[in-house]
Amino acid sequence: MTAKRYSPLLLLLVALVSAACDDTIGGAPATPTSPSDTTSAATPLSESFEATLSPGESTFYSFSVSATGPATATLAAVVQPGKVGALATPLRISFGTPVGEGCEISDSIEAPPSLTPQLGATLTAGIHCVSVGDSGQLTGTVIASIRFVHH
């Protein structure tokens, strides 16, 4: 066998191996597909609201849950109107369902301000409410800031 007989074979093998390395064999380069939008429903939504409370009062905020899932609420801040400094006054925060002009409470906790979730519940898809109210320790008007996370 001579060099002339081997050269075509060598070229053929090199071509085959090179072709096997090409990711584009059989069509255009793979194009990343857009992710489906199914994750949006599972992404928790963070909301917050402020309420001005006097002794004995409570107030609530209604929101819509798009899919059943865990929800948390946090009493993030309590301050006096016109003041900056934080108060450590505990308040009652609750989850519930709007009924008439009120919020029918299903889960509730009394807690001082914090930056970690304090109240947890599983909420079904639909309209719910988060409530904040005096638990008996308010001596004057305060502004409460509540954060809640839900689906």
Partner: protein, 133 residues
């Protein structure tokens, strides 16, 4: 000559085949970015406030320290307001330089606020260090 060509042929195939390995992703180098330390400087006037927001992507401890100030200032940590900007404080105290506030927090948006508690006559420069996840 034939033996040499056979060896060259095998060698060429081996070289090309080895170059044809799958593009297996290598494990990325893990860069530890938490905790994050930020230094914030500013000026507060009489009755004034100054606040700065930051985000955390994981739970952990927020620590703020009033590193320096021309006058005793209030220092606090809380959550950004939805309207009118500013900060609603979860914890606060009237601080002297060097004192620290720490509070556990989940992932989210937070703020640190410096405020005059009645001791600022003209204005007070300050420096605050914020450490967060």
């Amino acid at each position: 000559m034939q033996r040499h060509f056979r060896s060259a042929l095998l060698c060429a195939v081996a070289v090309f085949a080895s170059a044809c390995g799958s593009d297996t992703p290598t494990t990325p180098t893990t860069t530890t970015t938490s905790p994050v330390t930020e230094t914030w400087t500013g000026i507060v006037g009489p009755g004034g406030t100054a606040s700065r927001s930051f985000d955390t992507t994981q739970a952990g401890t927020l620590t703020v320290t009033l590193m320096s100030s021309d006058a005793p200032l209030g220092l606090g940590v809380g959550v950004p307001r939805n309207v009118n900007a500013g900060c609603r404080l979860t914890i606060s105290q009237v601080d002297i330089p060097g004192l620290t506030l720490s509070i556990p927090a989940g992932a989210g948006s937070y703020c640190v606020q410096v405020f005059d508690n009645g001791d600022v006559v003209k204005q007070s420069a300050f420096s605050v260090q914020v450490v967060h996840p």
